[in-house]
Amino acid sequence: MTTLAVKPGQRVLQSPVTGQEIVLVGVIAVLWAALAVSTPAFLTAGSIQPLLVATAPIALVGVGMTIVIITGGIDVSVGGAIMVCSVITAKVLVEAEVSLGVAVLISLLSGAALGLVNGVLIAYGRVHAIIITFGTANIFMFLGLQIFGSGTVNGIPATLAFFGRGPDGRTLGIPHAFLVTILITAAAWWYLRHTAGGRHFFAIGGDAQAARLAGVRVQRRVLLAYVLTGVLVGLASCFVIAQGTSTLDQSVGSGKELAVIAAVVIGGTSIMGGRGSVLGTLLGALLVQTVSSGVTQLGWRSQLSDLFVGIFIIVAVGADLLRARARRSR
């Protein structure tokens, strides 16, 4: 998809930032400027910090989702998986009073287990990913509700405050949740761009059969993509618990799969596979969160932000389609 024939001296890799990312940076800058002018309270730490904290879980799961979509798959079960991981972690925190590290580890392992289920079914069952993950989404929700037992988990201790909204969750004014997200996004960006293993994901998404013939272990790579997503869901679930109150209710994770997919496609990743960037996903998540934060601060109905998310998806993907058409005709 990206390069068909390599002439001497020509770049094999795309340039470090794609057109979509530059456009996104521009759109976010314009939005921030407009919001700063219309509501003076917007460009203050008290408004930006919650924005970054709220972006973190979506962007983090988005890293995994980007890799999954690059391989030509999709994972619509992340909402259910977030529910399972957060309720397990919350219960462990309440009943066993474990430390921060143990809690995070438990959440990561739960996420990895759920991702493994998806990965095995998709890689070895050879079934389309959207069907399998629609199915596992239901099964995960069942699991989550069963673990919930009663309506809510109450009295969650502040063990995870390191990732939270409070002063414990910041260093030099930057929320830890966002900092961790940036680091993981950067690592994933380097991995996908500069290692053979990372390039394999693109090869699978471009043409799985060709990748297999070229010696890529397609099934293992696909499995890895879903397990990675699961692990990131586990970490994101810790962020979600830390951002909430001491009570966790059953709506946790609901609808998050679509929010994550929206961030990924706004970020310029092709849903057909073979092309995409985790940097774009981070910017996409930031854009979506900026819109919903802006709508609230302007005093509009908060549900209107969904309308803007829809419009942004159309505009972002539409622009990408036009560029693809231009690339083809060149």
Binding site: L121, G125, G135, I139, L258, I271, Q303, L307, V317
Partner: protein, 356 residues
């Protein structure tokens, strides 16, 4: 479609029951329905259920089949059209068209028939937006309908300030969803929910006629099976695919009327609350043997899949106390979907493709 008939002739002698059940979705679903119903009858006789599971109960449960089967057929039309066809926005269309119906019939006092036609037409318009984006602009269906899902959902909530519409005429619509005794044979069989006759059966017959008896239906299977070949054969590929989304929107508009009548209120989140309506609808379509890659699928499969899920859910509700039942319904839906998908994958490899 045609390749499977050829293969059947090819390996005609090897045809046996196992292969029939694995490759033919309709006998498999029929057997599964019998197993589910017999299982719950036995449980009922043993006194393990909280209420009797009999023909009256099964008939009353059919009210849930009306929106489910109709949306399943809507999904089937768009999935048949191929190139990753799918419609995530059907639930949001149900919400938004339902609000329009609430305004037209509940507040502006339009006659019922006009309000229903207007709602269906509005649903078709919303579907046309999807179809335009997918077919004429070239958006992947998943993305286009994800975007319109967000947009329609948001407009449905904002349009009446988050308030449901439940004026006098809307509340009286509830009579539409009650059960009626059929003429002549009614004494011998249980009462059947009215919605089956007013909405579900006409839709099923119309979709069946459209797919099996019109040139449009043939074209839809054609473009779904091989989009490029269809174009070289001179078929109007874009127009055909566009119309599939319009029909899906139209059916969703009709489901909006059913839903408003069932709740006796036009709720702004009717089609998107909780899990939404799109997920179960896609599940029904896939379970009914519609291939996600397009070009394969039959009306009878979707109808049988609906009956299976509806009667399974109805039984599960009686097998557990409190809201445990609704949780096990999630498990059943998910497990059945994964099972059906894996079975499809298996038959694809072993027998070279499952025909619907």
């Amino acid at each position: 479609m045609t390749t499977t008939t050829l293969e059947k002739q090819d390996k005609g002698e090897k045809t046996d029951f196992v292969r029939l059940f694995l490759t033919q979705r309709i006998p498999l679903l029929a057997v599964l329905i019998v197993i589910v119903v017999v299982t719950f009858f036995i449980n009922d006789a043993g006194g393990y259920l909280t209420a009797p599971y009999d023909f009256d109960y099964m008939s009353a449960a059919l009210i849930n089949a009306v929106p489910l089967a109709m949306l399943g057929l809507a999904e089937m039309l768009v999935i048949l059209s191929g190139r990753g066809g799918i419609d995530l926005s059907v639930g949001a269309i149900v919400s938004l068209a339902g609000m329009i119906f609430g305004f037209a019939y509940g507040e502006w006092g339009w006659p019922l028939w006009l309000a229903i036609i207007a709602t269906a037409g509005f649903g078709a318009l919303l579907g046309a937006v999807n179809g335009f984006l997918v077919s004429y602009i070239g958006f992947p269906a998943l993305i286009a309908t994800l975007a319109t899902f967000y947009a329609y959902k948001s407009i449905a909530i904002v349009i009446n300030n988050q308030q449901p519409i439940s004026t006098e005429p809307i509340q009286q619509l509830f009579s539409l969803s009650k059960s009626v005794e059929l003429p002549i044979i009614g004494q011998y069989i249980p009462d059947v929910p009215l919605g089956i006759f007013t909405f579900l059966l006409p839709t099923v017959v119309a979709v069946w006629l459209l797919l099996a008896r019109t040139a449009y239906g043939r074209r839809l299977y054609g473009i779904g099976t091989n989009d490029v070949a269809a174009r070289w054969a001179g078929l109007p590929v874009r127009d055909t695919r566009f119309k599939a989304y319009v029909y899906a929107g139209l059916i969703s508009g009709l489901v909006a009327v059913v839903t408003v009548a069932q709740f006796a209120s036009a709720r702004p989140d009717a089609g998107v609350s909780g899990n939404g309506m799109a997920l179960p609808a896609i599940t029904i379509a896939v379970l009914g043997g519609v291939a996600i890659t397009g070009g394969i699928g039959r009306v009878a499969g979707v109808v049988l899949a609906t009956l299976l899920i509806v009667w399974l859910n109805a039984g599960i509700l009686l097998a557990f106390v409190g809201n445990e039942g609704s949780q096990y319904q999630l498990l059943a839906l998910g497990a059945v979907l994964v099972f059906a998908a894996l079975l499809n994958g298996l038959t694809n490899r072993k027998y070279g493709g499952a025909s619907s």
